[in-house]
């Protein structure tokens, strides 16, 4: 009797195991969504989960959304490990289109209907950033038009500067930055202009970009094959020298002041260049900071959209639920949800129609108009732009920390970037 009971229990356990293993009869179908952008964490996690469970599940009752925020610093490693193993890889994820579509080859191109619809509804100036080789791969988290000049009105007034007339050229920016800069025993305690000097070098390269473009330079040639002759050209050298001089010669900025956003939000920096999402971030995290937003400064030319990347939602090419995930993308990229997300985050919406309405009355309205009216700066679509930007960021750091002159740093970096640019030929 005991033996029979044991046999029945064993068979029962075996059946239970078979039907409940991932993909089995009882297994819940979960769409895993990974996001590493901490600024958007709550909005995307909470809003997406709510919309999925309350609205989308009516269309696909078997599915559940598991929204996960992964730490930014370890995100590259986590993505590569998951996609390489193809186990527990996210079905939908946030990232940079050229890298995930071209460099890793894991992003799925949008279906034909979305290729058409997105082309019609998305703000035109950002479409290139979510395309790879002419095809849409992602839906951006916001309309990111690159950086604008944020300045602290109170610090301007204390320093005798007119907040109604912010600097318009880089030469003026330097002059303006001199007045509010304060010094203590360790150096600068209040920066005239805060710049990025720590963290991932690719972010450091990104923050230098408006300076490079303002001097008329570019990272590499329009064909995407050579950096030599561009990255080490006089315009690029002059712009990096200017950038380094802000720290080392004129001492209006510092490499000890902390992260620029922290410094600005604590009233320890008079000016900084940042993206439009910072408007929402400051409202939520530093409501006491009295700031205004102005267009980026010109020098040889107006820098326009100076962006290395924009973050987008993408679909994993080998997801077992790819069709459902694309359905979800169709659902969540509607005009209604676009507005709701932009309201929660204080960012600019992605739909051109929503964008026009919501841009009005924002602190960065005029600066954004200038961006839209002017031609964009070069866009760098290389699939290995992560690594390229890292190498260029290192060159910027060498200058900021006074280890090399701008000319030495960029002349050393250019051949390395040439080699990285050559890599894309090998994946074709």
């Amino acid at each position: 009797m005991g033996k029979k009971i044991r046999q029945v229990l064993m068979v029962f356990s075996l059946v239970l195991l078979i039907v409940s293993y991932p993909g089995g009869v009882l297994a819940e179908k979960v769409i895993n969504y990974w996001n590493f952008v901490s600024e958007y964490e709550a909005a995307y996690k909470d809003y997406y989960t709510k919309v999925f469970s309350e609205e989308f599940q009516k269309l696909h009752p078997d599915f559940r959304l598991n929204a996960v925020t992964i730490p930014y610093e370890g995100s590259d490693a986590k993505y590569i490990a998951a996609f390489s193993a193809r186990i527990n890889a996210p079905d939908m994820f946030v990232g940079k289109v050229p890298y995930f579509a071209g460099g890793l080859g894991v992003a799925d191109p949008a279906p034909a209907d979305l290729q058409r619809i997105w082309g019609e509804v998305m703000v035109e100036k950002i479409q290139d950033f979510v395309k790879y080789e002419g095809k849409f791969y992602g839906w951006p988290l916001e309309t990111d038009l690159g950086m604008t000049l944020f300045y602290n009105v109170d610090i301007f007034k204390q320093a005798g500067l007119d907040p109604e007339n912010p600097p318009t050229t880089l030469t003026e920016l330097l002059e303006y930055a001199k007045k509010p800069t304060k010094y203590g025993p360790t150096g600068v305690t209040q920066a005239g202009f805060a710049l990025r000097y720590s963290g991932n070098p690719r972010g450091i390269a990104d923050k230098w970009l408006p300076f490079l473009h303002a001097f008329g330079g570019r990272l590499y040639g329009p064909q995407g094959k050579k950096a030599s002759g561009y990255l080490d050209a006089p315009a690029a050298i002059e712009s990096l020298q200017f950038y380094g001089d802000l720290v080392n010669k004129y001492k209006v900025s510092s490499v000890t002041i902390g992260k620029p956003m922290d410094a600005f939000s604590r009233g320890r920096a008079a000016m900084l260049y940042r993206e439009s999402w910072v408007v929402g971030w400051l409202d939520q995290n530093a409501p006491d900071i009295n700031y205004r937003v102005a267009p980026l400064c010109k020098q040889e030319r107006y820098p326009g959209i100076s962006l290395l990347f924009t973050q987008s939602n993408m679909v994993y090419k080998f997801s077992p639920y790819k069709d459902v995930v694309w359905d979800w993308m169709r659902f969540i990229t509607s005009k209604k949800h676009d507005v709701n997300i932009a309201k929660i985050l204080g960012t600019l919406p992605v739909f051109a129609e929503n964008f026009k309405k919501m841009m009005r009355g924002r602190p960065d309205e005029e600066a954004v108009k200038v961006i839209l009216e002017n031609p964009s700066s070069p866009y760098y679509e290389d699939p290995f732009i992560n690594e390229i930007a890292f190498r260029i960021g290192e060159a910027v750091l060498e200058v900021l920390f006074n280890k090399k002159t701008a000319e030495e740093a960029l002349k050393d970096a250019a051949p390395d970037v040439d080699a990285l640019l050559a890599r894309k030929e090998l994946i074709k």
């Binding site: 590259d76 460099g103 000097y197 963290g199 890292f390 994946i427």
Partner: protein
């Protein structure tokens, strides 16, 4: 050999039973070590001869990655930083932990001795990530504890982790704080195992404290010194957590260590082949250094 294995498995004597039990106890550890470390070596060798493009495409490239790495400035910068870190950290850990162990050895009251042992050992159980975060705050140039202390005693504040020339020494201080306890415990155990009769005999012969230390303590602590030396060499050559959390290898690569470089090559830039080649260089370096240390200092001291 076959007979020995057979005896070990089927033998019924007490010695064979004890051996069988001992092997069973260490079997999980050996299995883990084999599966996680040893079994990966052929795969690492395979990877190091291949360049990867994207996740699905790789190409046999022979020795070119091994040669290419040697031409890379970043590799040598990382290597130099690692060696610099090791050269500062190993003697500091060794000297300070031995010094503290000697001081503790002379404390006769058990409770005070145990209290200090626990106090010095505490940072060892703290994770390096937590240590890095604590020390990042201590080193903060404007609001950090250390600079405030410097100002109070009239010294010029420093930029510590933000200064390319101070960053490695600053990381070494963090590392010493964490690693001191382990070395100290090993040395205390070693000191307690030295028979007191040697010291009594030396005292009768007129040897002072310094001579006793140089001619009795140091030679008899040789196995412990070797152990700490090898452990610290392996640990510091593989240092990753501290620079990863505290500086991310900066400023301007001044604290980029070889394992951090390896990690970024593999997981930031998706180049497992190149990262495997770097890991083989690191493996060879640690192996050579350990063998050299072992050969030089393995002589036994008998009185």
């Amino acid at each position: 050999m076959k007979e020995k294995v057979k005896k070990l498995i089927l033998g019924k004597s007490l010695r064979e039973k004890q051996l069988r039990t001992a092997y069973l106890f260490i079997a999980p550890c050996i299995a883990y070590f084999f599966l996680i470390f040893i079994a990966q070596i052929p795969h690492i060798l395979y990877l190091s001869f291949h360049a990867f493009f994207g996740l699905d495409f790789s190409k046999y490239v022979g020795l070119s990655q091994f040669i290419g790495i040697l031409r890379e400035k970043l590799f040598w910068t990382s290597m130099w930083n690692t060696l610099y870190f090791s050269c500062l950290s190993i003697p500091s850990v060794l000297g300070l932990s031995l010094g503290i162990a000697l001081l503790l050895h002379y404390i006769k009251t058990r409770i005070i001795k145990d209290f200090f042992k626990a106090l010095y050992f505490l940072p060892t159980v703290c994770s390096l990530v937590a240590a890095a975060l604590i020390w990042s705050w201590i080193y903060e140039p404007n609001i950090g504890l250390l600079n405030n202390l410097f100002l109070k005693i009239g010294l010029l504040p420093q930029t510590w982790l933000h200064n390319p020339y101070l960053v490695i020494p600053s990381l070494v201080i963090m590392n010493v704080w964490v690693r001191l306890g382990l070395g100290m415990i090993i040395f205390v155990a070693g000191l307690e195992s030295i028979p007191m009769v040697y010291y009594e005999a030396a005292r009768i012969d007129g040897a002072n404290r310094l001579r006793q230390f140089l001619h009795i303590t140091l030679p008899l602590l040789n196995p412990q010194i070797m152990l700490v030396l090898i452990l610290e060499t392996i640990f510091t050559l593989q240092i990753f957590d501290l620079p990863y959390v505290a500086t991310e290898g900066g400023p301007a690569n001044a604290s980029r260590t070889i394992v951090l470089h390896l990690y970024q090559t593999a997981f930031k830039w998706n180049r497992p082949g190149k990262a495997s080649a770097i890991s083989l260089y690191l493996f060879a370096m640690i192996l050579i250094l350990t063998v050299v240390q072992w050969k030089i200092s393995r002589k036994r001291v008998m009185y």
